[in-house]
């Protein structure tokens, strides 16, 4: 029987702060995919999302001593990634305002992610996912963040409240409003259960 030793994120960052770099690698391995999915839903571009996740880990590396154990490590790292993603979106919006007259399109073409599932189901599946992604990007920023954190990343209300620094009641009401807004944006999709 395999013995499983669970070291918490907070213990790992403490070890990293004390100079153990292996602890940092473990944190990277724990969070890299989660953060990629979070940031990707935000910016809609896989490569860009991966760059932002790299920047997030670089920030963690450089500012490791800024972390205090009063907050959960996940809260801290999601906050960093969220800020970087938002800043990237702002940058892009400024660029888009400048270049929209040239391209005449509101959004660049959606690039569906590569997945390992079977090819047949992906004709409709990819279209549906593309539409969901498009709807997410059409949401106002505050709803977009909340829907990604709650319904895609499945974080707890408490954790979302800490990451966004808003009261739990506000988180709950925003989740509901974001869902209703999403549903409205996706109403053209065929209901398939």
């Amino acid at each position: 029987m395999q013995k499983q030793i669970t070291v918490t994120d907070e213990e790992l960052i403490a070890r990293f702060q004390a100079g153990t770099e292996v602890a940092y690698i473990e944190l990277v391995n724990r969070y890299k995919d989660r953060l990629l999915n979070f940031v990707y839903r935000f910016v809609g571009d896989r490569d860009e999302a991966e760059d932002i996740v790299q920047d997030t880990f670089l920030k963690v590396y450089k500012n490791r001593h800024a972390y205090r154990e009063v907050a959960k490590f996940s809260t801290w790292i999601y906050t960093i990634a969220g800020n970087l993603a938002r800043s990237e979106l702002r940058k892009r919006r400024r660029h888009k305002t400048f270049s929209m007259s040239q391209i005449g399109l509101e959004d660049k073409e959606y690039d569906p992610p590569d997945t390992d599932a079977g090819p047949e189901s992906h004709v409709s599946g990819q279209y549906e996912e593309a539409e969901i992604q498009r709807a997410i990007r059409q949401l106002p920023d505050q709803f977009r963040t909340i829907i990604i954190l709650r319904d895609i990343q499945e974080l707890s209300y408490e954790e979302i409240s800490k990451i966004l620094d808003i009261p739990m009641g506000t988180v709950k009401s925003r989740v509901n409003r974001a869902r209703l807004k999403m549903q409205d944006l996706l109403k053209h999709l065929k209901e398939n259960g």
Partner: protein, 175 residues
């Protein structure tokens, strides 16, 4: 109960985050209102889809690239340190050198201000005597001693700046 009010409570209803009375009121409404029932079903289906969106994975070389950036970051930090410290040091040296040159120059221009005569320490290999001379031209005179060239005495009649490494002591000026 109004339909919009029911929709506003959708998440709280799913999370069992309502009072028993509120929960029952919504259930009763759903039994009667087909529109709200369908809306709840669609919302539930959408949340399920969001939960099940394809999970992306980072590239296989993600860690490698990250560690390479960190290594580069380390060397950049080293360079910063390398540039910072000498800047402070050299500026200090430059100020000290400037002050020293100014002192030497002022002494050179106005030799009469130098009252004491300096003589090198006798422990040094070459015995030299420095005496104050009001003339501005330095004169280096050697008194030839025919018995031994090794005992040549060098007399410098020009006040000379103090060079590092020379051990100097004050001597009484001979009239």
């Amino acid at each position: 109960m109004q339909c919009q009010l029911v929709l506003d409570k959708y998440t709280a209803y799913c999370d069992y985050d309502l009072t028993v009375t509120e929960h029952s009121a919504i259930e009763n409404h759903l039994m009667e209102c087909q529109g709200c029932r369908e809306a709840f079903e669609k919302l539930g289906s959408m949340v399920k889809k969001l939960n099940g969106l394809a999970e992306l994975q980072v590239s296989t070389d993600f860690n490698e690239r990250l560690l390479s950036k960190i290594a580069h970051l380390g060397s950049a930090e080293t360079h910063t340190v390398w540039y910072k410290i000498p800047t402070v040091r050299t500026s200090g040296y430059a100020i000290a050198a400037g002050v020293a040159l100014a002192l030497i120059f002022s002494q050179w221009m106005n030799p009469s201000t130098t009252n004491p005569t300096l003589q090198t320490n006798s422990s040094l290999p070459v015995a030299g005597e420095i005496s104050n001379n009001p003339t501005s031209q330095p004169v280096l005179a050697a008194t030839d001693d025919s018995t031994s060239n090794l005992n040549d005495t060098l007399k410098m009649t020009e006040p000379t700046p103090n060079f590092p490494g020379q051990q100097l002591r004050l001597v009484n000026q001979t009239p």
